[in-house]
Point group: C2
Chain length 334, copies 2
């Protein structure tokens, strides 16, 4: 039986997610409804993607009994309210990253999912790419010995994009870009809490972070560093250096289609889209969608690959980094 | 008239430097003497490089009236005493990097050079590579707009090398490898003093740094990061990201033979050596040697490309980084 998806928000990322779902077998994944705050946007989205049911409010989507799981594609300041709306309506949820604005909000979302006994996952899509699966396999097999150093960069010029720079829209490089580096490092170090976090950054006049650089120290003399920026372009690759070799993730490290293991490159292409995409390699969201389906089929309430504990750890690290850089959202003061 | 070089120490780096000198016209550069603490080492070196005069002490070299400039290739704990020996003997000096163990020693060396009115330069050879000259030209021309972010890595497994790990030999990743990243960043930011330095690192049981990561903040919202390690291998490239583009220095960033400017690559090969080398691209030391000659011909006491102020700034930054990482040399306690 197909997993029946409801799409919350008719924005760019929801478009790409719906295109990604179409790369999977129709007998496995089906989009049955879309909701947007403006009916015309939902209608246009539904026409483009041949979706039969259209709602002009998220509440109506939450009441639809014919939905297995809701994809939350709203901007992150609205994740808390949207997630709680759907979990309280006993809907399973896949919510875009970052799961929320801070650890306090993340806890509230996770608690709500637990209380309502529904599945919930932060849409850290990178983790489900075949290249990421291969990284975890290689690390488990000791292919590069003991990991000693991890580095990742994600810097792209986004200062012209309102949601990237305005504080009330959840702007800032860390939550939009840096989270990819953080989740990568955290995946490599198995969700371990770092022993120390040192962060330095530069803020825009809007009060959000334009650029942030972070040094993490882990147990057993292991380290990691990353840089994120909405101001400049870096190559945006990542590397895992071990005592016996290294794994390189060429750009785009946030949606990787190749790996270089001890100088040997392997390709992991994402499926072709049937409609133009807004973001790079977005059909790769099919892998997280399939993870959601598999978890639901097994009756799991969280994914073992991107568990609740990892979402909480990421949020706690983001909070500490923002504290050191001096970025305070209104949500932090509530 | 040829610049007459004296070589202090018959070690690996002195070998490579002497091979590098041979890539330059014989009417410009001539090696007239070599000194080592063991006569047999000096003799063997002299035979290999056809050097006529051989000394079994640095003092004899210092007394040789037929020498224009001494290349100091001893390990860095001995830079202070060697530099002062030669400057007090009114000899010009090119001393291997790092110029000394800390800023206090660097000041002493610079003061001694000034007092004796001789030329002195820290052998930051990277700065004189054609690729480095081109970087400075591109930055001056505004080719990539305003520089906002600089990143450099230099990580190579050296834990089997005594001078890299033993404290009394001046071991530690920062002074051996990190200095290349620091000087690169400092060159890009025109010798400006950073507004803040944040460093984190891992120390060996010998008390020296195995791995160090550093975040620098400069005026006008500009940043830089670097990582150095004697424990693992990274790709060891560098990048300068500006508002209008980027300059990439592919590995080996410490002796670069190519540049990628806004995705367009240009090669800058170093001369071929006539004897096997100990280190990568070492014939590239010919560029710093020629800089020394040009400075001497002009009667300069320091190089405008690698001035005394830059050596002092590098040492001060290294001191602060070591303070944060917790590395203390015996020289720091004197």
């Amino acid at each position: 039986m197909a997993t029946r998806w409801g799409i919350c928000s008719a924005g760019k990322i929801s478009h790409d997610f719906t295109v990604a779902l179409k790369t999977l077998p129709a007998e496995d994944h089906q989009v049955v409804a879309v909701a947007a705050r403006k009916l015309e946007n939902a209608q246009e989205f539904a026409n483009k993607h041949s979706i039969s049911r259209v709602y002009s409010s998220y509440e109506e989507l939450a009441r639809d009994p014919d939905i297995d799981v809701v994809y939350v594609g709203v901007i992150h300041p609205y994740h808390l309210s949207a997630c709680k709306l759907f979990t309280n309506a006993k809907k399973n949820v896949l919510c875009e990253k970052p799961l929320a604005m801070n650890a306090k909000e993340v806890k509230e979302i996770l608690d709500s999912a637990k209380k309502n006994d529904v599945f919930l996952m932060e849409a850290v899509w990178t983790r489900f790419f075949p290249a990421s699966v291969q990284i975890r396999n290689l690390l488990a097999q000791g292919e590069i010995g003991e990991v000693k150093m991890v580095r990742a960069d994600f810097c792209v010029p986004l200062l012209h994009v309102p949601r990237s720079v305005q504080k009330d829209l959840g702007g800032g490089a860390l939550l939009d870009l840096g989270i990819y580096c953080l989740q990568f490092i955290s995946m490599v170090y198995n969700g371990e809490k770092p022993e120390s976090i040192q962060a330095s950054g530069i803020c825009l006049e809007t009060g959000v972070d334009e650029s942030v650089a972070v040094i993490l120290k882990y147990s057993k003399n292991r380290m990691a560093t990353f840089t994120c920026s909405a101001g400049v372009q870096l190559p945006n690759d990542a590397i895992i250096a071990g005592t016996k070799g290294k794994i390189q993730v060429p750009s785009p490290m946030w949606c990787p289609t190749s790996l270089v293991v001890n100088e040997k490159e392997t390709q992991y292409p994402v499926p072709e889209p049937h409609l133009p995409l807004n973001f790079t390699n977005s059909t790769g969201m099919c892998y997280e969608a399939e993870e959601v389906r598999q978890c639901l089929l097994k009756g799991l309430k969280e994914s073992p690959v991107m568990p609740h504990a990892d979402s909480l750890l990421l949020a706690e690290m983001e909070d500490e980094i923002r504290r050191q850089v001096g970025v305070v959202y209104s949500q932090d003061c509530q």
